[in-house]
Protein backbone atom coordinates (compact mmCIF):
# COMPACT_ATOMS: atom_id res chain seq x y z
CA UNK A 1 0.00 0.00 0.00
CA UNK A 2 1.37 3.36 -0.92
CA UNK A 3 1.94 6.04 1.67
CA UNK A 4 -0.76 8.18 0.08
CA UNK A 5 -3.33 5.43 0.44
CA UNK A 6 -2.26 4.69 4.00
CA UNK A 7 -2.60 8.35 4.94
CA UNK A 8 -6.07 8.41 3.44
CA UNK A 9 -7.32 5.80 5.90
CA UNK A 10 -9.35 7.64 8.56
CA UNK A 11 -7.85 7.09 12.00
CA UNK A 12 -11.18 6.78 13.75
CA UNK A 13 -12.91 4.54 11.28
CA UNK A 14 -14.36 1.47 13.05
CA UNK A 15 -12.51 -1.76 12.43
CA UNK A 16 -14.26 -4.21 10.14
CA UNK A 17 -14.79 -7.63 11.64
CA UNK A 18 -12.43 -9.38 9.22
CA UNK A 19 -9.48 -7.74 10.90
CA UNK A 20 -10.57 -8.67 14.38
CA UNK A 21 -8.92 -12.06 14.66
CA UNK A 22 -5.68 -11.44 12.88
CA UNK A 23 -3.38 -10.55 15.73
CA UNK A 24 -5.20 -11.08 18.96
CA UNK A 25 -4.11 -7.55 19.87
CA UNK A 26 -6.46 -4.65 20.37
CA UNK A 27 -5.89 -1.85 17.94
CA UNK A 28 -7.82 1.29 17.29
CA UNK A 29 -7.94 1.74 13.58
CA UNK A 30 -7.51 0.28 10.17
CA UNK A 31 -4.34 2.31 9.87
CA UNK A 32 -2.82 0.63 12.93
CA UNK A 33 -3.77 -2.77 11.58
CA UNK A 34 -2.22 -1.98 8.24
CA UNK A 35 0.97 -0.83 9.93
CA UNK A 36 1.00 -4.02 11.99
CA UNK A 37 0.91 -6.10 8.82
CA UNK A 38 3.05 -3.85 6.66
CA UNK A 39 5.61 -5.98 4.90
CA UNK A 40 9.24 -4.99 5.02
CA UNK A 41 10.79 -3.37 1.98
CA UNK A 42 9.26 -1.79 -1.08
CA UNK A 43 6.16 -3.29 -2.60
CA UNK A 44 6.14 -4.40 -6.23
CA UNK A 45 5.00 -1.50 -8.38
CA UNK A 46 2.46 -3.54 -10.30
CA UNK A 47 0.69 -4.55 -7.11
CA UNK A 48 -0.06 -1.02 -5.93
CA UNK A 49 -3.63 -0.01 -6.44
CA UNK A 50 -4.96 3.52 -6.05
CA UNK A 51 -8.07 2.11 -4.42
CA UNK A 52 -7.82 -0.85 -2.08
CA UNK A 53 -11.51 -1.08 -1.28
CA UNK A 54 -12.12 -4.00 -3.65
CA UNK A 55 -9.06 -5.79 -2.28
CA UNK A 56 -10.38 -5.36 1.25
CA UNK A 57 -13.89 -6.39 0.24
CA UNK A 58 -12.59 -9.58 -1.36
CA UNK A 59 -10.44 -10.36 1.67
CA UNK A 60 -13.48 -9.79 3.85
CA UNK A 61 -15.44 -12.37 1.87
CA UNK A 62 -12.63 -14.91 2.09
CA UNK A 63 -12.24 -14.30 5.81
CA UNK A 64 -15.98 -14.73 6.34
CA UNK A 65 -15.86 -18.07 4.51
CA UNK A 66 -12.88 -19.16 6.60
CA UNK A 67 -14.60 -18.15 9.81
CA UNK A 68 -17.71 -20.09 8.79
CA UNK A 69 -15.59 -23.26 8.87
CA UNK A 70 -15.34 -22.88 12.66
CA UNK A 71 -19.03 -23.72 12.93
CA UNK A 72 -18.47 -27.18 11.43
CA UNK A 73 -18.47 -30.23 13.69
CA UNK A 74 -15.02 -31.10 14.99
CA UNK A 75 -14.94 -34.57 13.43
CA UNK A 76 -17.04 -37.12 11.60
CA UNK A 77 -16.58 -40.77 10.58
CA UNK A 78 -14.18 -39.71 7.83
CA UNK A 79 -11.84 -37.62 9.96
CA UNK A 80 -11.34 -34.04 11.07
CA UNK A 81 -13.83 -31.53 9.73
CA UNK A 82 -13.35 -28.27 11.61
CA UNK A 83 -10.02 -26.51 10.99
CA UNK A 84 -7.80 -25.23 13.75
CA UNK A 85 -8.16 -21.54 14.57
CA UNK A 86 -4.41 -21.19 14.02
CA UNK A 87 -4.84 -22.54 10.47
CA UNK A 88 -7.41 -19.86 9.71
CA UNK A 89 -5.07 -17.20 11.05
CA UNK A 90 -2.24 -18.64 8.97
CA UNK A 91 -4.37 -18.49 5.81
CA UNK A 92 -5.31 -14.90 6.59
CA UNK A 93 -1.70 -13.94 7.22
CA UNK A 94 -0.66 -15.48 3.91
CA UNK A 95 -3.17 -13.43 1.95
CA UNK A 96 -3.30 -10.17 3.91
CA UNK A 97 0.00 -8.68 2.69
CA UNK A 98 -1.48 -8.79 -0.81
CA UNK A 99 -4.50 -6.88 0.41
CA UNK A 100 -2.21 -4.27 1.92
CA UNK A 101 -0.67 -3.90 -1.50
CA UNK A 102 -4.08 -3.31 -3.03
CA UNK A 103 -4.02 -6.67 -4.82
CA UNK A 104 -7.50 -8.02 -5.45
CA UNK A 105 -7.34 -11.75 -4.70
CA UNK A 106 -9.24 -13.75 -7.34
CA UNK A 107 -12.52 -15.20 -6.16
CA UNK A 108 -11.90 -18.74 -4.91
CA UNK A 109 -13.90 -21.58 -6.37
CA UNK A 110 -14.12 -23.15 -2.94
CA UNK A 111 -13.00 -22.74 0.65
CA UNK A 112 -13.27 -25.87 2.75
CA UNK A 113 -11.42 -28.56 4.66
CA UNK A 114 -10.18 -32.02 3.76
CA UNK A 115 -10.41 -35.16 5.90
CA UNK A 116 -7.33 -34.13 7.92
CA UNK A 117 -8.92 -30.80 8.84
CA UNK A 118 -6.57 -28.88 6.52
CA UNK A 119 -7.96 -25.72 4.99
CA UNK A 120 -8.07 -25.80 1.20
CA UNK A 121 -8.70 -22.60 -0.73
CA UNK A 122 -9.15 -23.46 -4.39
CA UNK A 123 -8.88 -21.19 -7.43
CA UNK A 124 -9.56 -22.43 -10.96
CA UNK A 125 -9.34 -20.87 -14.38
CA UNK A 126 -9.91 -23.30 -17.23
CA UNK A 127 -7.15 -25.91 -17.05
CA UNK A 128 -5.32 -24.04 -14.29
CA UNK A 129 -5.87 -25.02 -10.71
CA UNK A 130 -4.31 -23.51 -7.60
CA UNK A 131 -4.85 -24.62 -4.04
CA UNK A 132 -3.61 -23.05 -0.81
CA UNK A 133 -3.38 -25.87 1.74
CA UNK A 134 -3.02 -24.97 5.42
CA UNK A 135 -2.62 -28.10 7.56
CA UNK A 136 -4.47 -28.53 10.84
CA UNK A 137 -1.27 -28.96 12.81
CA UNK A 138 0.32 -25.64 13.71
CA UNK A 139 3.82 -27.11 13.24
CA UNK A 140 3.11 -28.26 9.68
CA UNK A 141 3.88 -25.74 6.98
CA UNK A 142 1.29 -24.53 4.51
CA UNK A 143 1.85 -24.87 0.78
CA UNK A 144 0.41 -24.22 -2.65
CA UNK A 145 -0.44 -27.07 -5.01
CA UNK A 146 -0.91 -26.01 -8.61
CA UNK A 147 -1.53 -27.84 -11.87
CA UNK A 148 -2.22 -27.25 -15.52
CA UNK A 149 -2.63 -30.21 -17.82
CA UNK A 150 0.22 -32.65 -17.19
CA UNK A 151 2.23 -30.12 -15.19
CA UNK A 152 1.88 -29.93 -11.44
CA UNK A 153 3.96 -28.85 -8.49
CA UNK A 154 3.96 -27.99 -4.85
CA UNK A 155 5.31 -24.67 -3.58
CA UNK A 156 6.30 -23.90 0.01
CA UNK A 157 7.22 -20.28 -0.63
CA UNK A 158 4.32 -18.28 0.75
CA UNK A 159 6.01 -14.89 0.53
CA UNK A 160 3.87 -12.07 -0.81
CA UNK A 161 5.68 -11.98 -4.11
CA UNK A 162 5.48 -15.75 -4.66
CA UNK A 163 1.81 -15.83 -3.66
CA UNK A 164 1.00 -12.90 -5.93
CA UNK A 165 2.71 -14.61 -8.86
CA UNK A 166 0.69 -17.77 -8.41
CA UNK A 167 -2.58 -15.87 -8.07
CA UNK A 168 -1.75 -13.83 -11.17
CA UNK A 169 -0.93 -17.08 -12.94
CA UNK A 170 -4.26 -18.70 -12.12
CA UNK A 171 -6.11 -15.53 -13.06
CA UNK A 172 -4.20 -14.86 -16.26
CA UNK A 173 -4.49 -16.14 -19.80
CA UNK A 174 -2.87 -19.41 -20.82
CA UNK A 175 0.90 -19.20 -21.19
CA UNK A 176 2.23 -22.07 -23.32
CA UNK A 177 5.83 -21.15 -22.41
CA UNK A 178 5.28 -21.81 -18.73
Amino acid sequence: MSRAVLDDVPTNEPLPSYLGTLTGKETNSIKEKIVLFRVKGPLPEDSISPDSSEALAQFSRITAALTDLLSLPETDELGLVRPARTSIESAQLTLFPLVQAGFVIPTPLDIGTDHDGAIRIVWENGPRSLELVVPYESDASAYFYHSEGDRYDLQRDLSMDATRKLLNWVRGPADPAR
Partner: protein, 141 residues
Protein backbone atom coordinates in the same frame (compact mmCIF):
# COMPACT_ATOMS: atom_id res chain seq x y z
CA UNK B 1 -6.95 -59.21 -10.65
CA UNK B 2 -6.88 -62.50 -8.74
CA UNK B 3 -9.72 -63.44 -6.41
CA UNK B 4 -8.90 -62.89 -2.77
CA UNK B 5 -10.41 -64.59 0.23
CA UNK B 6 -11.21 -63.18 3.65
CA UNK B 7 -11.04 -64.95 6.99
CA UNK B 8 -14.45 -66.57 6.50
CA UNK B 9 -13.27 -68.43 3.41
CA UNK B 10 -15.30 -66.21 1.12
CA UNK B 11 -13.61 -65.75 -2.23
CA UNK B 12 -14.17 -62.31 -3.73
CA UNK B 13 -14.98 -62.22 -7.42
CA UNK B 14 -12.29 -60.71 -9.63
CA UNK B 15 -12.39 -56.96 -10.12
CA UNK B 16 -12.98 -56.08 -13.75
CA UNK B 17 -12.00 -52.89 -15.59
CA UNK B 18 -15.66 -52.13 -16.25
CA UNK B 19 -16.56 -52.34 -12.56
CA UNK B 20 -17.46 -49.20 -10.68
CA UNK B 21 -15.87 -48.38 -7.35
CA UNK B 22 -17.77 -46.57 -4.63
CA UNK B 23 -16.10 -44.30 -2.08
CA UNK B 24 -17.62 -42.53 0.87
CA UNK B 25 -17.30 -38.77 0.94
CA UNK B 26 -18.82 -35.76 2.65
CA UNK B 27 -21.49 -33.55 1.14
CA UNK B 28 -18.85 -30.84 1.29
CA UNK B 29 -16.52 -32.92 -0.92
CA UNK B 30 -18.52 -31.84 -3.97
CA UNK B 31 -18.22 -28.44 -5.64
CA UNK B 32 -21.33 -26.39 -6.30
CA UNK B 33 -21.24 -27.55 -9.94
CA UNK B 34 -21.31 -31.21 -8.85
CA UNK B 35 -17.66 -32.09 -9.46
CA UNK B 36 -15.91 -34.21 -6.86
CA UNK B 37 -13.13 -32.52 -4.87
CA UNK B 38 -9.63 -33.88 -4.35
CA UNK B 39 -10.40 -34.18 -0.66
CA UNK B 40 -12.53 -37.24 -1.38
CA UNK B 41 -9.46 -39.15 -2.60
CA UNK B 42 -6.63 -37.75 -0.54
CA UNK B 43 -5.08 -40.34 1.79
CA UNK B 44 -5.30 -39.51 5.48
CA UNK B 45 -2.16 -38.33 7.25
CA UNK B 46 -2.65 -40.67 10.18
CA UNK B 47 -1.70 -43.73 8.15
CA UNK B 48 -5.21 -45.17 7.96
CA UNK B 49 -4.96 -45.17 4.15
CA UNK B 50 -1.39 -46.45 3.99
CA UNK B 51 -2.57 -49.78 2.55
CA UNK B 52 -4.81 -48.05 0.03
CA UNK B 53 -7.94 -45.96 -0.34
CA UNK B 54 -11.01 -47.78 0.90
CA UNK B 55 -13.67 -48.46 -1.74
CA UNK B 56 -16.43 -50.93 -2.48
CA UNK B 57 -17.05 -52.58 -5.82
CA UNK B 58 -20.56 -51.80 -7.00
CA UNK B 59 -22.46 -55.08 -6.96
CA UNK B 60 -26.24 -55.51 -7.21
CA UNK B 61 -25.93 -58.49 -4.89
CA UNK B 62 -24.67 -56.25 -2.08
CA UNK B 63 -26.60 -53.10 -2.96
CA UNK B 64 -28.66 -53.02 0.22
CA UNK B 65 -25.54 -53.56 2.32
CA UNK B 66 -23.70 -50.77 0.51
CA UNK B 67 -26.68 -48.47 0.70
CA UNK B 68 -26.74 -48.87 4.47
CA UNK B 69 -23.04 -48.06 4.68
CA UNK B 70 -22.91 -45.22 2.18
CA UNK B 71 -26.25 -43.44 2.48
CA UNK B 72 -25.73 -41.61 5.74
CA UNK B 73 -26.67 -38.07 6.82
CA UNK B 74 -24.15 -35.53 5.56
CA UNK B 75 -22.43 -38.08 3.34
CA UNK B 76 -22.37 -38.73 -0.38
CA UNK B 77 -20.89 -41.45 -2.57
CA UNK B 78 -18.28 -40.95 -5.26
CA UNK B 79 -17.89 -43.44 -8.06
CA UNK B 80 -14.98 -44.12 -10.39
CA UNK B 81 -14.53 -46.89 -12.94
CA UNK B 82 -11.73 -49.38 -12.32
CA UNK B 83 -10.45 -48.76 -15.84
CA UNK B 84 -9.91 -45.08 -15.01
CA UNK B 85 -7.93 -46.02 -11.90
CA UNK B 86 -5.65 -48.21 -14.04
CA UNK B 87 -5.21 -45.43 -16.59
CA UNK B 88 -4.09 -43.06 -13.86
CA UNK B 89 -1.39 -45.57 -12.94
CA UNK B 90 -2.90 -47.02 -9.80
CA UNK B 91 -4.21 -50.48 -9.00
CA UNK B 92 -7.27 -51.96 -7.33
CA UNK B 93 -6.97 -54.88 -4.94
CA UNK B 94 -9.81 -56.92 -3.42
CA UNK B 95 -9.88 -56.57 0.35
CA UNK B 96 -13.02 -58.45 1.37
CA UNK B 97 -14.16 -58.41 4.95
CA UNK B 98 -17.25 -59.87 6.64
CA UNK B 99 -19.03 -56.54 6.74
CA UNK B 100 -18.36 -55.84 3.05
CA UNK B 101 -17.37 -58.81 0.87
CA UNK B 102 -16.83 -56.42 -2.07
CA UNK B 103 -14.52 -54.14 -0.16
CA UNK B 104 -11.38 -53.19 -2.10
CA UNK B 105 -8.40 -50.85 -1.96
CA UNK B 106 -7.04 -48.41 -4.51
CA UNK B 107 -3.31 -48.96 -4.19
CA UNK B 108 -0.15 -47.35 -5.48
CA UNK B 109 -0.51 -43.91 -3.90
CA UNK B 110 2.72 -42.99 -2.11
CA UNK B 111 2.65 -42.50 1.66
CA UNK B 112 2.37 -38.74 1.86
CA UNK B 113 3.98 -38.68 5.29
CA UNK B 114 7.33 -39.84 3.86
CA UNK B 115 8.42 -36.60 2.26
CA UNK B 116 7.85 -33.76 -0.17
CA UNK B 117 7.90 -35.91 -3.32
CA UNK B 118 5.40 -38.39 -1.89
CA UNK B 119 3.14 -35.56 -0.75
CA UNK B 120 3.19 -34.03 -4.22
CA UNK B 121 2.36 -37.38 -5.85
CA UNK B 122 -0.45 -38.03 -3.36
CA UNK B 123 -1.92 -34.61 -4.19
CA UNK B 124 -1.66 -35.36 -7.90
CA UNK B 125 -3.26 -38.80 -7.66
CA UNK B 126 -6.09 -37.34 -5.57
CA UNK B 127 -6.60 -34.69 -8.24
CA UNK B 128 -6.68 -37.25 -11.05
CA UNK B 129 -8.99 -39.63 -9.20
CA UNK B 130 -11.38 -36.77 -8.41
CA UNK B 131 -11.30 -35.64 -12.02
CA UNK B 132 -12.44 -39.11 -13.17
CA UNK B 133 -14.98 -39.54 -10.39
CA UNK B 134 -18.58 -38.47 -10.22
CA UNK B 135 -21.29 -38.45 -7.65
CA UNK B 136 -23.14 -41.75 -7.35
CA UNK B 137 -26.80 -42.27 -6.61
CA UNK B 138 -28.00 -45.71 -5.57
CA UNK B 139 -30.73 -47.11 -7.84
CA UNK B 140 -34.19 -47.24 -6.33
CA UNK B 141 -34.20 -51.05 -6.23
Amino acid sequence: MQPESCSTGYVAPPILPADNLLRRMRESDVYADGRVKKAAFKPRKNGLDRDGLSVSVEDPQYRQQHRATFELPGKLTATIQVKAVYEIGLDVRPDPDPSDPRHALITGIPDLTLGEKEQLEAERFAELLARHASQYTFPEN
